[in-house]
Amino acid sequence: MHFDSLTVRRHVTRLVTVPVLAVLAGLAACGAHDGLPAGQADIDAVRGLPWDSVVGRARGTEVVWRMWRGDPSINAYVDGWVAPRLRERYGIALRAVDGHGPELVNQLVVERGSGRRAGTASLLWINGETFANLRKEGLLAGPWATRLPSAAFVDTASPIVRRDFEQDPAGFESPWGRVQFALIYDTLRTPLPPRSVADLAEWIRAHPGRFTFDQGFAGTTFQKILLYALNGGVSRFQGGFDSTRYIDARVNVFAWLDSLRPFLWRRGETFPPDVAAMHRLFANDEIDFSMSNNQNEVITKADHGVLPRTASPLLLRDGTIANTHFVGIPFNAPNAAGAMVVADFLLSAEAQLEKQRPGVWADGTVLDVARLPEPWRGRFARLGTDPRQLPRDSLARYAVPEVSPRYHELIAADWRAHASAFTRREGAR
């Protein structure tokens, strides 16, 4: 006896269909709804309770924190300073795992699709368009942030801390740190760097092939700086997204960049994927400027040997974007109470002070230091500054806030399409 082709086909059909259906049925079974998602239920449960009860619930638990793990300084602060103190004081085991920005949104959308009450992470490091997307999708639990004891000292007078890309955090995220965009240059190679967008254009023309920007978050922030500078300042973009205004303004940004394309690195036909690649090109003397969303990153990167010792941050006088980064609790957090205790500790004067030290992370505090009780006020005042750090008054003078995240989302995608079409056109000539 032998198998004819029909028999084989029937067997294959059956044998393929059965396991596929079984797996799908399994997934569907996993996806059965079972009440309110864990994170929101937990937050609702502790809403009326005193803070000590929240701490009591958190004691002896594990908090998985999904965050960007791309910077050894930040990892060392979280793993080597924050985590041991949480364990010692609250018995909380903090486990920081990788995942940031859009990845967090994707993960939670998939977890929501599974329908399970509890997900994997209890805390997320977020801001801007990630916060906007998470809120829009209903993927954050809350409100909870305003009830943290440390929240009493948050610098709510600052619009940069009070708002996240113009959005009201509304208690769904708690501020953690504050940074400001800066270009990075080498004081030896470029003793007289450009100080404004107009000067930068002149400099790029005079130094062909020595400037570029990345296709990641920092590069998009740089384009938003151009958006403000070339279109009458940030005030024109405040008050929510305006499609007509954006389209008009985008023309000026792309025209400015197109006029400089032949003078950019690789004639503007290709761009580095991210700031890590920018730093590498800068350190290897292939370009003369790198960039960062944190004005102090240059110091920690130079200390780690990633950037030259003579590298320094540079602000453009037209204004550089400052923003605040936050922590949020997902709707399905398995341990929201633990996450709240961690967020409170991150916001404490002690943790904020340590984080701001130049040798640690040099991430700006979100606290209103003037309102802090002693000894913390004095400790912040005595906090050593690195000579490479930009003076605080310069940072404040040139800081401009973020605007609606829609500008960020659109300019990133539109630039890709525009850059590609421009290269094709130029190539065809």
Binding site: M1, L15, V20, V109, T270, P273, E286
Partner: protein
């Protein structure tokens, strides 16, 4: 009857064996099929969808209508074909040159196999260090007085032709193909080639009429595997490929992490395209294999 009984038992056993084999194959294929079903579902907006999205073909039509998608597909095919082609040439050269049992042959084969255990990420980093405009090759050129500045080094990393990526992947994949080629020659080639030479064939004729026909038939499945692997490789592309056109795996990653949530599901459409390329390569191999003449040296 008594003579037929063992035959019937044999047929039953054979059928059971075949069923078990098919079941195992189906189980192995299930994750791929489930993944494909999920990706298609997400492309249509049925699963993993944002709150306000409705199931429709609009996303698929939009992604397939974008120039960037097809630039990405063509660029990926170019990289996969050229890297695989170079790897085959290198692998056959290694197998033929170091086919003997002498110490030099063994050392040659071992050296050619060195990249095999190396992760693709490390291979990509080596590509950057060696081929970048400030890499080892550029520094050597500088030391020899051939160039003065990094920009004078021909761009081989992030370049629009993907030269650095092609060379790196070809070097990495050559090791695997060289091992397969050497094994083919060792097990099947010697006697046939010896016969050809005894009959007066020149070394070139022997290669053309015996060695190569034997090699390409044996190598074909491995070549398809390499092609599919190179087309879907993310790590090396992330380190070496240009920002435009985007390699297809980078396009998938880019769309999945686009700041605009509405574009995230585009990644599923692009990943289905990647699967179509892989399936087409496998189907092409099956088609060729069904038609080639068996090689009897």
């Amino acid at each position: 009857m008594s003579r037929d009984a063992p035959l019937a038992a044999h047929a039953v056993n054979r059928r059971r064996g075949k069923s078990a084999g098919l079941l195992a194959a189906a189980l192995l294929a299930a994750p791929v099929l489930v993944g494909l079903a999920y990706a298609i579902g997400a492309s249509l907006g049925v699963v993993a969808a944002a709150n306000d999205s409705q199931p429709s073909l609009a996303r698929i039509a939009r992604v397939l209508g974008e120039r960037a998608t097809w630039d990405s597909v063509l660029w990926t095919l170019w990289v996969a074909a050229s890297a695989t082609g170079l790897a085959v040439v290198g692998a056959v050269a290694v197998a033929v040159a170091f086919r003997g049992h002498a110490r030099g042959d063994r050392v040659g084969r071992a050296l050619a196999a060195l990249p095999l255990p190396m992760p693709h990420l490390v291979a990509g980093m080596l590509g950057v260090w060696l081929l970048g405009q400030s890499g080892i090759a550029a520094r050597a050129a500088f030391a020899l007085g051939l160039i003065v500045r990094p920009a004078e080094m021909p761009p081989l990393v992030y370049d629009r032709l993907g030269v650095g990526l092609v060379l790196t992947l070809a070097w990495k994949e050559m090791a695997f193909l060289a091992i397969v080629s050497s094994a083919l020659l060792a097990t099947r080639g010697a006697a046939a080639e010896e016969a050809a030479r005894t009959l007066g064939a020149s070394p070139w004729e022997t290669f053309r009429r015996v060695t190569w026909p034997l090699l390409w038939r044996g190598l074909a499945p491995a070549v398809v595997a390499v092609f599919v692997f190179v087309a879907g490789n993310y790590e090396a592309a992330a380190l070496l490929a240009p920002s435009d056109p985007l390699a297809l795996p980078l396009l998938v990653a880019q769309r999945a992490t686009d700041p605009d949530l509405a574009r995230h599901a585009d990644a599923y459409v692009a990943s289905v395209l990647l699967l179509v390329i892989a399936s087409a390569a496998v189907a092409a191999h099956e088609w060729v294999r069904a038609r080639w003449e068996p090689f009897v040296p």
